[in-house]
Each structure stands twice: as C-alpha cells, then as structure tokens.
C-alpha cells in the first residue's frame, strides 16, 4: 500500500539574483513499512524535499507545484492547521544536528512531552511518564533523571537518541530522517543505525532516509533514489543499484565510496574526488542533461537533449542516454 507519493514536485525559490529551481519535477513513492533512501550531494534538493513533505517551507520565498500525497491527501493543498495535525503525529522527523536541533532552554522531558500532550491529549504527568518510557525504549540509561535534564547535559549520542524518541513519540506512519548520523562519532553512528533498524521493526513505520552516505544506504534501505540538481537521476532497489549502477553520477558516487567497512567510514573530504566539477547553478535554465558538465562520458547529444527518466531494467530507472538498457525493460 502506498503511504507517500510525491508527484512531479517542483520547489522554486525567489532569490535576489534569480529564481532557484531547487527541486524540479521530482517523483517517488514510499510504501507502508518501507525504507527509501534519498541520496545526493548537499544542495541536490533532498533536505528541501523533506521540508516540503512536512509542510515546513516558508511560502514565499518558496513556491511549490505538483503533489505530495500522504494517505491519499495532497499535503501541498492542506491548510496550516490540517498540516499541524500531521506533523509530529503521523510524520515524525529526525534532524541532522542533535546539538542544535534540541531547544537548549527546555528540558528533554518537556520537549518529548509536548508532542504527546499536543497530539494525544496526555496530561502533564501522563506525558512525563510516557517520555520516561520512550527514553528507556531508545536505550537511554537512567531515563527518570534524564527527562529533567537539559540538552547540554547529554552526550551527542544521547541527544540523538532523545531526538529519535521525540520523533517516535506518537508512533508515526512515516519517519523522515535527515542525515541522522552525520554529526556523530563513528562508533555512535553504528549504535544509532542499529537502534533505528530495531525501532523500525517494532513500530512498522516507513522511513524516508536522507543521506549523502551510501554506506548507510547499504545497511538500512530497501530502495534508493539518487538526486542530482533537484532531479531524480536514478531509482532502484538497493541491491540492484549497488550491483549495476546505471547513471554515471551514481557510478561516481559508488566509485568514490570506500569499499571496505563502508558503514564505518562516513564523511570524508575527498569523498567525491572521482566526480570533477561542481553542481551547476540552478538559477539558469539548462539545456541538455544537468550532469553533462561533470560527466566524463558526455557527448554533444547530452549537451543538447535532456535525457528522460526511463526504465533501464525491471524496477530500475535512470536518466541517461547512454545508460545500459536490459532487453527486458519496457
């Protein structure tokens, strides 16, 4: 059953020096209980898409077109109060920086509890009790003491656990995790990923995992979409993508990834050394393929005609004129 279906989503921003087409014609789906990874470099539009799903974009300066269907309703057309019913309740979100994403002047218990009081109508005491339970669930020792503490009194890993507890407080159908482990130490990263997998199995929530780290994708995702310049350039099941990447950009990403112990190696400066150049400015209309400027295999054809996203193998889409195409694909 489809839980989330993003259809031809466009997110444009008005900036002082032109319109930034941050997301342009993005479509994807997430089934109930599924984990979909959204992969791409910073600025490819992945975080903005997550913000759009939660209805957190400020419009203006942002403008949107297309549809984001969640349980059949188009979130882009919902009113702000209707959207608030969904945020934190049916869709939970984990942010990248647990240090800055938690409010420094409110206690952990208060921050978890307010979601419960808001969406489930719990009393102050009820919410506090449940907050303690949730902290225990995410593996925080001495939860009874921690609920009364402030974020700065917790370690980085504990803060991210608290963040997860907060996102899961109302048992959401969909959990959006935006780079959930990027800001953490390597050993803590593995623990948090384990925790997320474990909780996903227990709660049955679908996960939209946003990351630039293909190592994490291999560990936890079912399916992957690769974004470049606000567009989807490839989509496949995890195993297919890693075995036979079809788009040159995906191959670049995979080639740039350390082979051994992929999960333990996270953010390295030279990660994308195999893809020369920079993401093009999205403020001009581009002719041809958006990746052509950085692609080693680009030809005149690529520079003139933008490739459409088409099936290259069963359940495997790519947007490249030269991507190998299986005979079975149709």
């Amino acid at each position: 059953m489809l839980l989330l279906s993003v259809e031809n989503l466009q997110i444009h921003f008005r900036t002082p020096d032109g319109v930034n087409r941050a997301v342009d014609g993005l479509s994807f789906t997430v089934a109930a209980g599924e984990t979909l990874a959204v992969v791409g470099e910073s600025g490819c539009g992945k975080s903005i898409t997550a913000m759009a799903v939660l209805g957190l974009l400020h419009r203006p300066p942002a403008a949107t077109a297309g549809a984001i269907r969640f349980e059949g309703r188009d979130l882009l057309r919902l009113s702000e109060p209707e959207m608030r019913e969904i945020r934190g309740n049916k869709v939970g979100m984990i942010f990248q920086e647990p240090m800055t994403s938690l409010n420094p002047v409110l206690t952990i218990g208060r921050q978890i509890g307010e979601t419960l009081r808001l969406h489930q109508g719990l009393s102050r005491d009820g919410a506090k009790e449940r907050a303690v339970e949730l902290l225990r669930l995410v593996g925080i020792a001495e939860p009874g003491r921690r609920v009364r503490e402030y974020p700065h009194q917790l370690s980085g890993g504990m803060r991210q656990r608290a963040m997860i507890a907060m996102a899961l407080a109302c048992s959401p159908k969909l959990l959006i995790a935006d780079e959930p482990t990027t800001a953490l130490d390597v050993t803590i990263q593995a623990q948090i990923l384990d925790l997320m997998r474990d909780l996903k199995q227990r709660t049955g929530a679908a996960v939209l995992l946003i990351t630039h780290d293909l190592g994490i994708v291999a560990e936890v995702a079912d399916r992957v979409i690769v974004l470049y310049g606000g567009r989807k350039v490839e989509e496949a099941a995890v195993a297919d993508l890693f075995r036979t990447p079809r788009h040159p950009y995906t191959r670049g990403l995979l080639g740039a990834m350390p082979r051994l112990g992929a999960a333990e190696r996270a953010d390295e400066p030279g990660r994308l050394a195999e893809i020369p150049g920079m993401v093009p400015s999205l403020k001009q209309r581009l002719e041809g393929c958006i990746f052509a400027g950085r692609c080693r295999e680009a030809t005149d054809l690529c520079r003139r005609f933008a490739p459409a996203l088409e099936p290259k193998a069963p359940r495997h889409l790519a947007a490249c004129h030269y991507a190998p195409k299986d005979a079975l694909a149709a």
Binding site: T100, P104, L106, E114, Y150
Partner: protein, 313 residues
C-alpha cells in the same frame, strides 16, 4: 544563590566608587571657578565664601574626598545650598512620583514592545514588520518632550480625556493616580518601546533561524507556541539585557517628562536644582540614579541564570 548575590554586590563597589569619584571631582575639574557660577552674578563676596565653605572647596581635595565618602557611607548626601534642607530629605519627598512613573512605564513598555518585536520577527519583511521598524526609528528620532507635548495637546487639551498635568499620590486612590500617569508613561515609554522592540526583533530573527525552531514546527506546534514558548525563551537574554540598559534612557527621559507634565518628582527636583545651581542636590540625584541603574543591571545579571540553564556563575 545568596553567595552569588553577595559576590556580585561586592563586585559593584568599584563601579560605584568610580561614579562617586566622578560626580565628586567634577567640581574640581570644571573649567573656571564653579563657585562663582553656582553663586550667580549678583552674589556678594561673602556669599561666595559661604558657598565655597559649604561645598568644602576651601579644603584640600583628598581631605574633602575622605570626609565626603565617609558621610555618604552613613547616608548623608549633603545639604541643599538653596533651601538648607538635607538632600536625602529632599529626595525622600520626591521619590514616589518618579518611582510610580518609571514602574508604570516599564510595565507598559515591556508589555507592548516585546509582542511588537516578536510579531515583526515572525512576519519579517511584511507590512507588520516594516511598520514596527518604522515606529522604532521614529521612537529614536522624536525627542521625549516632543512626544509629551503632542500627546498632552491631543489627549488632554483638545480631547480632554485625561488630566493635562500634575500628579496624584497613590494614597488618594489608584484610579486618579493611574489616570495622571497614562500620558507621562506613554511619553517616557515611547523611545523605550522602540529600543526593546528593535532588540526583540533582532534576537527573535536570530533564534527563528535556529534548528530547534524547525524541530518545534516539525512537531506540529502552533505558531504561537513556537514563537512564545520555544523562541522567546531563547531570545530572552538579549531582550532582558536591553531592558536593563534602557533604564538609563528612562532616567534621562524622566527628568524631561516630569518637566512637561509638572510632576513633582526627582526629575523636577533636578531641573529646579539646575536653575538654582544647587550642586549638592544634583550630585545626590546623580548618585542615587546611578546606584539604581547599577543595581537593576545586577538584578538582571542574576536573572540570566533563570532564563538560560547553560549560564552559571
């Protein structure tokens, strides 16, 4: 907590000492002979000698400074040259109107300025924001007595809604006391509102760009809860700081406001003292106001620990 307060109080001693030294030594460093200026043009040599002796200017600087400090520590601020009444007594007679005016203004201004600043930040770039910012610039530009006369002219003289001038002691009823303070407090509060609203807006804009505000919105909290619960508490430190620093503006403004509205308070006492060149009175008032200012800001420093759990002294 008590230990912290005591330590902080001790730390204000050097500041107060500098204030006292400043106020005291002005008499010695003023160009020309201040005594002849204080005495006025028609004074006889005997008058000048008498004033010189009253001010102690006939004795060496250090002897006089020691003597003066000793007396201040005992609560003696000297005697008015003009009325021969002890300065402390003069101040005591005038404290209530000024205190009333400043407290009402403070309450008024904070209650108006903080929501204005929050609204401006929440709607950054909108008509509301621009209006608040325009009001703030206006607040800094229109001098306090201009505000006072315009308000008094419109609401008291033309419309007759409020008393034109004067002060009703609080003992004679809260209603009349308050009615007499509305116009002066609005006058005095104008620039203060501008100051607080501007800082509130800036602090809130800063906070609203933070990740935890996004988290709060992602939880489904209503805008009001996000603004006033999550954001405002984080913006509180700069806001409270400027409220404290702005008290200096209030004190200066009170002198003028009391003149415009004929309120018999400390400001009025100061102005009368200037016209009579009654330096001991001016000295006393300046010392008192400075002490109030220092202590208020000390109290605000201590308030920080309550507002932000990360701050510890």
């Amino acid at each position: 907590m008590l230990g912290i307060i005591v330590r902080r109080l001790v730390a204000t001693i050097p500041v107060m000492a500098v204030v006292a030294l400043c106020v005291f030594s002005l008499l010695y460093f003023a160009p020309g002979d201040p005594v002849t200026i204080i005495a006025g043009d028609q004074a006889s040599p005997a008058d000048v000698a008498r004033i010189r002796a009253t001010l102690g200017l006939d004795r060496p600087f250090l002897v006089r400074l020691g003597d003066w400090t000793w007396r201040i520590l005992q609560g003696d601020l000297g005697t008015s040259i003009f009325t021969n009444i002890p300065v402390t007594e003069l101040i005591a007679q005038r404290v209530q109107p000024t205190l009333s005016l400043m407290l009402v203004t403070l309450a008024f201004a904070i209650a108006i300025a903080v929501p204005l600043g929050v609204a401006a930040a929440a709607t950054a770039g909108s008509v509301v924001d621009r209006s608040v910012m325009a009001l703030a610039v206006l607040g800094f530009s229109v001098p306090v007595f201009v505000v006072g006369y315009v308000l008094a002219h419109v609401f008291a003289v033309e419309l007759g809604w409020l008393p034109v001038q004067g002060y009703t002691p609080i003992e004679r009823g809260l209603g009349p006391w308050f009615a007499n303070l509305i116009l002066p407090a609005s006058t005095l509060g104008f620039v203060y509102v501008a100051l607080i609203a501007r800082v509130t807006r800036a602090a809130m804009l800063d906070v609203l760009a933070q990740d935890y505000v996004r988290t709060a919105r992602a939880k489904g909290l209503a805008p009001r809860a996000v603004l006033f619960l999550h954001a405002l508490k984080n913006a509180a430190v700069p806001i409270v700081t400027v409220i404290g620093m702005g008290i200096a503006l209030l004190i200066g403004g009170a002198v003028v406001t009391e003149t415009v509205f004929a309120i018999p308070g400390l400001g009025r006492l100061t102005v009368d003292a200037i016209l009579r060149r009654d330096y001991p009175v001016i000295q006393g008032v300046v010392l008192l106001f400075s002490a109030v200012y220092v202590l208020m800001n000390l109290a605000i420093d201590l308030l920080y620990t309550l507002l932000d759990p990360r701050i510890r002294y």
